[in-house]
Structure formats: C-alpha cells, structure tokens
C-alpha cells in the first residue's frame, strides 16, 4: 500500500479507502493510515462528543482518546462485523458514558429548568411555525432536554447523515425502536422550542 493512497481523499464525503485497507494499514502502524483516520473521523467524533458534554476541551480529549484506543485495539477489530466508523463511535459512546459516571454529569435538563433559565429572547414571535427564529444556542439547549438516546439518534441521523439502520446497530436496538426514538425526540424538541417561544 502506497502512502500517497491515504492522502488523496481527505474529504469525508469521498472516503475512497475501504475499511479493510484502512485496518491493514493501521495494524502495520502506518503513519499515513492513522493520519487519514484522524482527518476523516475526528471532526464528526468531536461534534458528537461536544453536543453531549458541552465542553470543548473535554471533547477534544475524548476524541484523542478514541483514536488511541482504536490504535491499541485494532487487532481485535473484525472488518466484517461492523463498519469501522461505527466502531469508532462505539468507543466514543463508551468514553462519554464514563464521563457521565465518573463526574455524575449528564447534560440532560428538564424542560422546566430550561425554560426558567432561558427567558424568551424575541418577544412578539409566538407563531412558531411561520415566524419563529431559532439560533444555535436554542437548538443546543433544546437537545439537552432529550434523553441521551433520543439525542444520539438525532445527532447521528440529522447532523452526521447516518442511515437509521446503522444508528440502530450502534445503539444495539431494533430499527423500529430507533425510529420511535427519532420521532419522539424531534417531537419533544419541537415542544420544547414552542414552549420557549410562547413564554
């Protein structure tokens, strides 16, 4: 495998390298292979972690730790069993769970808490459907009112463009269950945003 092959496709939309070839390179300790993985997957992992922990430094640390654990355990990865990307996100999920456990930090807040903390920003805009204006902070805060799994499904499906069956495999749930999580998650988020607008 020529090193140049790893570098021709940094664009995540054109992965270009099969999981098999990538894993072989990582097992050999090829520097370009590990660089390729970081450039391809670190930004998405960072978004996924950041939206759940809301701490940029911690998110960076966790992404680095995901990469190190990936290198350390690459011999155990079986290509046919799961996509490489799903494996990385599974490691990230485990590390996020560790954070919840160790620091007792779960960013989920109740809708009531959130509404109390975030007074209406734009008085007069009560018709959510036609005129409401949402900014990033409102959406991020709204995401925190969801359950962890609802948030994960929405982040992976809407933000990261994962297909729902792939999300189901990552979460270890049935497709029907993940569809339910997605539907209820968006509905809960809608309710949270409408309630905030109407206060």
């Amino acid at each position: 495998m020529q090193s140049e092959l790893w570098l021709v496709s940094d664009d995540p939309d054109r992965p270009g390298m099969s999981d098999e070839a990538l894993v072989m390179g990582l097992r050999r300790g090829d520097a370009p292979a590990s660089q390729y993985v970081v450039r391809l997957y670190a930004p998405a992992l960072y978004r996924f972690v950041y939206y759940q922990l809301q701490d940029p430094l911690l998110a960076e640390d966790i992404v680095a730790e995901v990469m190190v654990r990936m290198i350390e355990n690459i011999d155990r990865f079986v290509v046919c069993q799961a996509p490489f990307r799903a494996w990385l996100f599974r490691i990230a999920r485990n590390l996020i769970s560790d954070q919840y456990r160790v620091h007792k930090r779960c960013p989920q807040v109740s809708l009531e808490q959130w509404l109390d903390a975030e007074p209406e920003r734009e008085p007069g805009e009560c018709d959510f459907r036609l005129n409401s204006v949402l900014d990033r902070d409102q959406l991020q805060s709204g995401l925190l009112t969801l359950t962890r799994e609802q948030r994960e499904v929405i982040l992976l499906h809407v933000i990261e463009d994962w297909e729902l069956p792939e999300v189901a495999r990552l979460l270890g749930r049935s497709l029907a269950s993940v569809k339910g999580l997605y539907y209820r998650g968006i509905e809960s988020l809608r309710c949270a945003l409408v309630s905030q607008k109407q206060r």
Partner: protein
C-alpha cells in the same frame, strides 16, 4: 403504538429523510397534503438542526489529536515493544504458523509440524514445547514489568491532560492545584506559559499520584480556544 400513530411516524421519517437529503421543506410538505399541518413544525425542526452551525475542531486541536495518534501508532511499528509482544503471542497461539494445511487433527494441531522433524519422540517434543512456553511466559512477564515501569524498551504510555497552571517552579508546573507536571529540556512548549493560563499537553505518567512528565505542551490563552464556531447565524423557519 396504533397503526395510525405508526403511519404518522413513518410519514414523518420519510419526509425528514428528504429534508436531510437536501429537499426544501415546502416541496416535501407538498407531497404530504393530508398531514401537512401535523408534519410542518417537526420537519422545520429537522431542517433547523440540519442547518445549525456545528462546532469545529480548530486546526491546532486537530494537530494535537494527530500527534497523539501518531505516537500510539508508532508503538505498532516493527521493532517496537508492542510489535514484539504481538509476535510472541502469535507464536504461542496453538495451530498458528504450523503450515500444516489443516491435514493434522486433534493433538497434532497443537504440535507444530517442524518440531516433529527435530524431535523423534512425542515426549521430547512435549518437553521442548513446555520449555519454550516457560521461556515465553517469563519473557512476557519481564516485558510487562518493563512496560509498567517505563524502562527502556517498554512502550510509552501516554495521556493527554488539560488544566490551568496554578504554579510555575523550575522544572515543574502545578496544574489545577493538584497535578505536578515535570518540564524538562525535552519538553516542547507552544505558547507562553503563565500562571492562570489554560493548557493542554501530551504527557507520560510518573510514579506517585498525579505526576506526569510533559512531552509537548500547548498554552491556550482563552478557555474556548480549541473550538471554533462559525459566525453566529440565525435559522429561520
């Protein structure tokens, strides 16, 4: 869930997937005449999420992650302690590297075929294999001890650490009042260290609680430096 609810859920998911794929909310809702009112707000939420500016890794943060990953990858290169351990484990695995081609069965698969050419009796082969296993276990144990104590030949166990510098002494910094970071002439420092500054580093743990030797340090002047958000924009719907 009733069949009507399931239908509503499926219609929403189909509509939202079109929005995620890039279709406009209006065109998607036009295809859902019966449920237009019901779906409109939820679809708008999906569109707002899709267009929400996402947090981005700053180039220097990406470089730090790359560096740490490269250090981990180096331990896999031939000649490193990890590679040596892997080779030894491969040799210990029953049936591996025997070249038997699957013709041997039962006990024969546990006895590498080349040993049969050297040792004429089964007893001699068993004694030789046992001796090899004792030697291999002893070597692995010593290797493990060397790895734990960081002696030459052992792979470095590296960690990343982020915190606030609370004290600077010659040769060591105190971080977050409880972590000692040894700084020596091999430590690569990016930025100007000062008390109160936020920093992140790649370091190896030393003996004792909360003690590390820094290999590379980045001083972050502002608490949120690694995260770069695009300019705040509003999403209308």
């Amino acid at each position: 869930m009733s069949s009507a609810d399931r239908q509503a859920q499926d219609d929403f998911i189909a509509a939202s997937q079109q929005v995620i794929a890039g279709s406009s909310v209006e065109s998607v809702l036009a295809q859902q005449q019966e449920r237009q009112d019901e779906l409109a707000e939820m679809i708008c939420v999906v569109e707002a999420l899709k267009e929400m500016p996402s947090p981005r890794l700053a180039p220097e943060a990406l470089a730090r992650i790359e560096k740490r990953t490269q250090l981990a990858a180096q331990s896999r290169l031939p000649g490193s302690a990890h590679a040596a351990r892997s080779r030894r484990l491969t040799l210990l695995r029953p049936g591996s590297d025997t070249g038997s081609g699957g013709t041997n069965e039962g006990h024969a698969t546990l006895t590498p075929i080349y040993l049969k050419t050297i040792f004429r009796t089964k007893a001699m082969a068993v004694v030789a294999v046992a001796a090899l296993m004792v030697f291999a276990i002893a070597t692995l144990t010593m290797g493990g001890l060397a790895f734990q104590h960081g002696t030459p030949g052992g792979a470095q166990q590296l960690e990343s650490y982020s915190g606030i510098i609370t004290k600077i002494d010659a040769g060591k910094w105190l971080l977050d009042d409880d972590t000692e970071m040894v700084i020596d002439n091999l430590t690569e420092i990016h930025g100007q260290p000062e008390v109160g500054a936020k920093m992140t580093c790649i370091a190896e743990p030393l003996e004792g609680n909360e003690r590390y030797r820094a290999l590379e340090v980045w001083i972050l002047s502002t608490p949120n430096a690694p995260t770069v958000f695009p300019p705040q924009s509003h999403t209308s719907f």
